[in-house]
Symmetry: C2
């Protein structure tokens, strides 16, 4: 889990270029937030995992909130990039069913990231959570995106979008709670059959 040496181990600390250090910080933070949530996250733990001191860490991210922002921005950029690559077409051109299948496949391959979002999404329901606005906005844009993809293929695209989103998030919870037992992709296929009709 640790990305660098622990605080105790007195290994000479390496000096990294800012971009590279930032990447390392984001990786460590992602893991820790997935484990503890943002309220349970400590700068000290992140710093330890990176082989830094806390002020050294603050030099890069400014504050604890800045740390969270960095992680979320990074994930967003990454997501758009990788999703378009997986689909092979700009995501507006894909059907809802293809879009979902691609999303689920990607998520199934990176449980840690999914957990980060699951934990943070729940925690940020509180209006004063630093990621609250981010997740409200995210939900809206995702729903719009899904509804757009559904348009024409069903009577009520908005309702279907909500259902699809809810089902995906819910299945991820079931899956993460008992990762050995369940298969996310298989569960989604069952769900898709119910949501989109049994037709291929």
């Amino acid at each position: 889990m640790a990305v660098g040496p622990a605080r105790g181990t007195r290994r000479e600390r390496s000096r990294l270029p800012a971009a590279q250090r930032r990447e390392q910080i984001i990786a460590a933070t992602t893991a820790l937030v997935a484990e503890r949530g943002f309220w349970g996250l400590s700068m000290q733990d992140v710093a330890d995992d990176c082989g830094l001191t806390v002020p050294g860490l603050l030099h890069h991210v400014g504050s604890k909130d800045g740390l969270l922002v960095a992680v979320l921005e990074h994930r967003d950029a990454e997501d758009v990039r990788s999703l378009e690559a997986a689909l092979g077409v700009p995501r507006e051109a894909a059907s809802l069913r293809e879009l979902c299948a691609a999303l689920v496949r990607r998520n199934a391959a990176q449980p840690e990231i999914v957990r980060l979002f699951t934990v943070l999404a729940a925690e940020s329901l509180a209006p004063d959570h630093p990621a609250h606005d981010y997740f409200v906005a995210r939900q809206r844009t995702v729903l719009v995106g899904l509804a757009t993809a559904a348009k024409g293929t069903c009577p009520d695209p908005d309702a279907l979008a909500r259902l699809v989103m809810a089902t995906m998030d819910g299945l991820q919870l079931v899956w993460l709670r008992d990762p050995g037992t369940y298969d996310l992709v298989a569960m989604w296929e069952e769900a898709a059959a119910a949501l989109f009709g049994a037709s291929a």
Copy 2:
């Protein structure tokens, strides 16, 4: 939000019988955990909301973990009681569809409790979370209960149970994120139509 006077306000503190104080503590904790999660919960905040000092609070619950246990046990007892009352029959006798409808109606009426479970369910994905085992066990028993109710009415009761659970949890997230915009009961009815077939 505060159930009692704040720490600053020097009002004479009332002495309550243990059972009553416990109830108050559980109510305050429920609200705070829903807001901050367990990692973000502080004994001081709970104590303040109850008009107690921290050691006064610890006298009743023993430790921070004890506090969480008290809340979860209380909720479980309450849930079973109220669900059987709402159904009018022991819950083994109800159909899956009725069971779900009753659950959703109840949840729609107490968003704060739903948020408590949503936040805690996500946070407790981490294996060392004090409520981890509780939520793993809970998921299993709920899935078994749902599958039992589904038995005979569909080809794969286990799969349907997972889908139903995922959809309910997911819809609650959508709902809680934007409570003014969405109607949980209406969304569930759309979902039920897709999951159980359009038949009444």
